[in-house]
């Protein structure tokens, strides 16, 4: 019996786990993993079943390949002209042929997109003057609804009318479409006029269970909507100028009697509901820091009143749910929203309880305390809906030893105090999380596979196309290369001058992935299918 160096003393008494798939099936019949680890134990079979075969340059429709839904039921695509939604059902490769079935290679007829995917429908979402936002898509696993967005062109120098924030661009109309993915029927729509919602990578919208939080950057309002099983989008509340859903009604019904005063109340002289909560939380915190009256006044003068206007000028950048009641809100300056390089801007995080309308916590983006919370309890920030089974296995530094080691080693490299503060800012820049931006594929499970995170990651992003194959090695012994994949033509590209970008779409549980390579020129993209033959 050979012992591995990382085995615990208890493992001495267990037979060594064999990695051959036949042995594993036999082992499965006679033993099981430690209690509570059965899913993890079963997932090890993925070490044997990998997408190690590639069909290069698959004959496929020229369209935008967006995403597999997290339950693996649908492949979402958009037409090149950003008008239509095209939905496919992933089917496992099936083909029939009369002769030559015994050869190792697939017949050319099988090497088609249609052998793997069957089109369910194609529906038009956009109208004459708006387009589908190809970077936006959310999926509710429980009732298989999809949320899509269409928008008109962006106006950069929009006038800040009606209480809008100056410096934030405007979009004439943004429409969210709620679709039943089973048959492509549009169930409901919700439009925002002359507003700005950050739709890229789902940044401005967060879905949690049946609750949707939409951040209007222009009007500084968090719209909370509920997706009913009946297929309706219902306004629950909006947080911004007011905190409770009936605050405005309460105010108008209470001040109506004073209308004879002539001047109707203008909202802009008062602090908004969320700012009042934020400022009073900060004020209370500093007040309680010091008990001596005179030093307290000094402290407040320096830490609160001096920066009062800066706090008032903060705007809501991004929001995520932590649970059904708590929102994690990122505040920053207007410049930070428009500029691409967000890391350099100072920003703040607040935890807000929608029910009690209280700020629960407030941190700066370089706060060690928040970083430590994030390091230890990272999964609490990954608020996933209850129904998404596979998402529980997305690797993070809180649930995965290897991811944690990576984070710690990066942290130790940043040893000086200024580097450490930069490191904290960099890590916290991922908060609040973008909704549904990580692939739950087991091939990204860091307890199973090791891969170069610079060239591939579960994050849903385009990257510069790699020249080399991307390698996936076993995390456990014998740590050998299990499979490799490469976007683009098999022989490499003839033209090395044009910059190419690639993206990977992994099926959530099948050994199936698509790689799409695009060049900046107008050539159609190259699609490779990676699967287990």
């Amino acid at each position: 019996m050979e012992l591995q160096h990382h085995q615990s003393p208890m493992d001495v008494f267990r037979p060594k786990k064999r990695s051959n798939v036949v042995c594993r099936i036999f082992d499965r019949q006679i033993s099981s993993g430690a209690s509570g680890t059965s899913v993890r134990y079963t997932r090890r079979f993925y070490e044997n079943v990998v997408p190690d075969y590639t069909i290069y340059e698959v004959e496929c429709p020229d369209q935008i390949y967006r995403k597999f839904t997290d339950d693996g039921q649908y492949l979402i695509c958009f037409s090149r002209n950003h008008q239509d939604l095209i939905v496919y059902r992933p089917t496992w490769l099936s083909y029939s042929c009369k002769e030559d079935c015994n050869t190792n290679d697939l017949p050319p007829k099988a090497k088609k997109f249609e052998s793997f995917f069957s089109q369910l429908y194609c529906v038009s979402l956009a109208s004459s003057n708006d387009l589908i936002c190809k970077d936006f898509f959310l999926y509710t696993g429980s009732n298989q609804f999809g949320i899509f967005a269409t928008s008109t062109a962006q106006i950069h120098d929009a006038l800040p009318v009606g209480g809008a924030v100056q410096g934030v661009p405007s979009i004439e109309k943004i429409t969210f479409h709620l679709l039943r993915l089973e048959d492509g029927v549009v169930l409901d729509q919700k439009s925002f006029q002359n507003d700005f919602i950050n739709l890229a990578h789902n940044m401005g919208v967060f879905l949690y269970d049946d609750l949707l939080a939409i951040v209007s950057l222009r009007y500084q309002t968090i719209h909370i909507l509920q997706i009913r099983d009946s297929g309706n989008l219902v306004d629950v509340r909006s947080i911004g100028t007011f905190c409770r859903e009936d605050d405005q009604l309460f105010l108008t019904s209470n001040t109506q009697t004073d209308l004879h005063q002539g001047q109707p109340s203008s909202d802009y002289c008062f602090l908004s509901g969320i700012k009042q909560r934020l400022l009073s939380f900060i004020f209370r915190g500093i007040w309680n820091e010091e008990s001596d009256q005179s030093s307290r006044v000094q402290l407040l003068k320096k830490k609160f009143y001096f920066h009062f206007q800066d706090y008032v000028d903060l705007i809501i950048w991004k929001v995520q749910f932590l649970d059904r009641h708590h929102l994690l809100i990122k505040f920053g300056s207007v410049d930070g929203v428009v500029s691409r390089n967000v890391d350099h801007h100072r920003s703040f995080f607040a935890v807000y309880n929608m029910e009690t309308t209280e700020i629960v916590a407030f941190y700066q983006n370089s706060a060690d305390e928040l970083y430590l919370l994030f390091e230890q309890f990272g999964d609490h920030f990954h608020a996933t809906s209850r129904n998404s089974l596979y998402l529980n296995f997305t690797s993070s530094h809180s649930n995965n030893m290897h991811a944690r080691e990576q984070l710690r080693s990066n942290k130790n490299k940043a040893s000086s105090s200024s580097a450490s503060s930069q490191f904290v800012k960099k890590v916290l820049a991922s908060l609040p999380f973008s909704c549904q931006s990580e692939s739950p594929s087991p091939y990204f499970d860091q307890s199973l596979f090791k891969f170069d995170e610079k060239s591939i990651s579960p994050m849903d992003r385009h990257r510069p196309s790699p020249d080399q194959h991307i390698k996936f090695c076993l995390r456990r012994k014998p740590k050998v290369l299990k499979f490799k994949m490469k976007p683009g033509p098999e022989a490499g590209s003839v033209d090395n001058r044009t910059k190419k970008i690639s993206s990977f779409l992994f099926h959530p549980f099948l050994p199936l992935a698509l790689s799409i390579q695009q060049s900046m020129s107008l050539q159609p993209s190259v699609l490779n299918i990676h699967f287990r033959k």
Partner: protein
Amino acid sequence: MTTPSAPSLASSSRWASTTSVSSSGKRIHREMVELNIDPPPDCCAGPKGDNLYHWIATVFGPPGTPYHGGIYFLDITFPSDYPFKPPKVVFTTRIYHCNVDSNGNLSLEMLKDSWSPALTITKLLLAIRSIFTRPDPYNPLVPSIARLYLEDKAKYDELASEWTLRFAK
């Protein structure tokens, strides 16, 4: 709680500089020192950014009043001929009060005809704080609230505390 440091240095170009040697500036500065040495209870104030003429005041809603539990922010603007002219005080937190109009303007006898150059920021803060405990319904800005205060105090208290809960937390 860890107090985060401020977002950015307040821009100095927006307001007059602290180094102003005018007599009103000197006077405000002296009153600031006075306030720092002997601050009144449950309220506080300080210059916004580096502008001595624009202050923010904060008042805790006093216990025993329907304003209890609320934190009220006020803008105080000093005229350039202070202390010969009174400062202007505006609530930036919504409040249900017969001496505060629907735009937040505060009406105090002290800030009008009874203003005297002998009054200071500390005394002003005390006066602001006293309107929470003793509203003046006989010189109201909002007559309907003043009427309710005189006729049905219980209903007034109920409404005022509802406002506190909704808008001043």
